[in-house]
Symmetry: C2
């Protein structure tokens, strides 16, 4: 039987505000056994880009990444946000190591081809080196992963953090019994966005189709759940969507094949 | 006999200009055996700070690091410069891993106490975890170290890059036969700063005192050579000060106990 590993993905909103970040770090530090944290940082990137006079172009909530914007996200995700988390976890006795997919060539990607939209330096993932990542984790290291990687030609690339989490989880699936938890500001996928008691406890493939048809699942939730199913199809044992203060694995919406 | 390791420290000027960076990456990639790169990035930090409306205060060429400046150096050193080097080396087949001293708690430091000057979030190094660093290197990983670390209480700290290089070299001395090369824009320590043929081939402790008395060595060269002697006293085998295009170990000024 493979050892359990906990992979937590947290969005920008949580890691960019001091109070919620501290709470997250306390909860994450308390998780026993091997673990990985994947983080976003979009709000800080937008703020710092604006201060630098760089306009942020978003399409469907995703960032168009021109050369100047790439510098900003590399600074903010790979530097400011990542190292703040690393320092915060080290202070809590967690042996954190900040990584992008370029570090140790853990995530291989290519620049997204231009079709209808030129996304700029946005990456589509080709594969991940789970062996290298597993070797680091086996040394007691806790990877803190920024949503960035490289193209193998010397360029960094911006990667959607949900995708980064799914790819990291899949890469570790041959070595660990992986639980992937997506954290956001809600207690789970809700039938009624106004009613926090309407959390859907389980979503299967069939039920997912139905929820999409009914319009209950829409917008940014669709790529998130698609990533969740992708992870399960890639060998991940369990995927949960929940609020950042409820990462013990019992709450939220469980995605099931 | 311990295996040889090459530790190269390069200043900001080299890694911040594309042409010299590419040349450095080619030369660094060609070095055989275990290796580590420590980099600066001060010029980019000053530029980006200015764009963000943050004034850079320097004393004797070193940066006073208030809370806002700490964010800038964390972004620039830990994010932009570090990951550009990592991506560039990965493209050259080097298994680079970007690190600060906070990552894996490799460098432990404390905030410099306020005496005559309040340096802000500048660190004085307490020690380094050479064992962890050596374990990473033994896996074929090439650490790329940014001049940052943490205080163990959740704060990042700005560290002088020459000091970071000396501390990294000393930490590895129990495990490797270490050569530390400080690269800068000159071919070595020169008797006459106007004459590039006046490079001093060797500086011993005694000769160093004499050179300081004569005023031949002064200013920013003093802490650099002090760091070099510190490294030698800490078990480093060889310290060389040379130009970035001459890192084969034969040229420049050799510092000798």
């Amino acid at each position: 039987m493979k050892e359990k590993i906990t992979i937590i993905k947290v969005g920008g909103k949580i890691v960019e505000e001091n109070e919620t970040l501290m709470q997250l770090l306390d909860l994450f530090a308390a998780i026993e056994g091997p673990k990985v944290l994947i983080h976003g940082g979009g709000r800080s990137a937008t703020k710092i880009a604006a201060k630098l006079g760089i306009e942020s172009h978003m399409i469907d909530g995703r960032r168009v990444t021109d050369a100047e914007t790439l510098k900003v996200v590399t600074m903010v995700y790979g530097g400011l946000v990542n190292k703040s988390i690393v320092a915060g976890l080290q202070a809590r006795g967690v042996n954190a190591l900040g990584l992008t997919g370029a570090d140790c060539n853990i995530i291989r990607a290519h620049k997204r081809p231009v079709k209808d939209i030129d996304w700029g330096f946005v990456g589509d993932v080709d594969g991940a080196d789970g062996k290298m990542l597993a070797a680091l984790i086996a040394q007691g290291i806790v990877p803190i992963v920024a949503p960035l990687t490289h193209d193998g030609k010397g360029n960094m690339l911006n990667i959607n953090a949900d995708t980064m989490a799914a790819e990291t989880a899949k890469a570790l699936a041959p070595y660990y019994d992986v639980t992937l938890t997506y954290c956001f500001e809600f207690p789970g996928v809700m039938r009624n966005p106004e009613d926090e008691t309407s959390v859907i406890p389980q979503i299967t493939t069939e039920y997912y189709s139905q929820l999409k048809e009914e319009g209950i699942v829409s917008g940014g939730m669709i790529p998130k759940i698609d990533n969740a199913f992708g992870a399960l199809n890639g060998g991940v044992s369990k995927v949960i969507i929940t609020r950042a203060d409820a990462i013990d694995g019992t709450k939220g919406t469980h995605i099931i094949l």
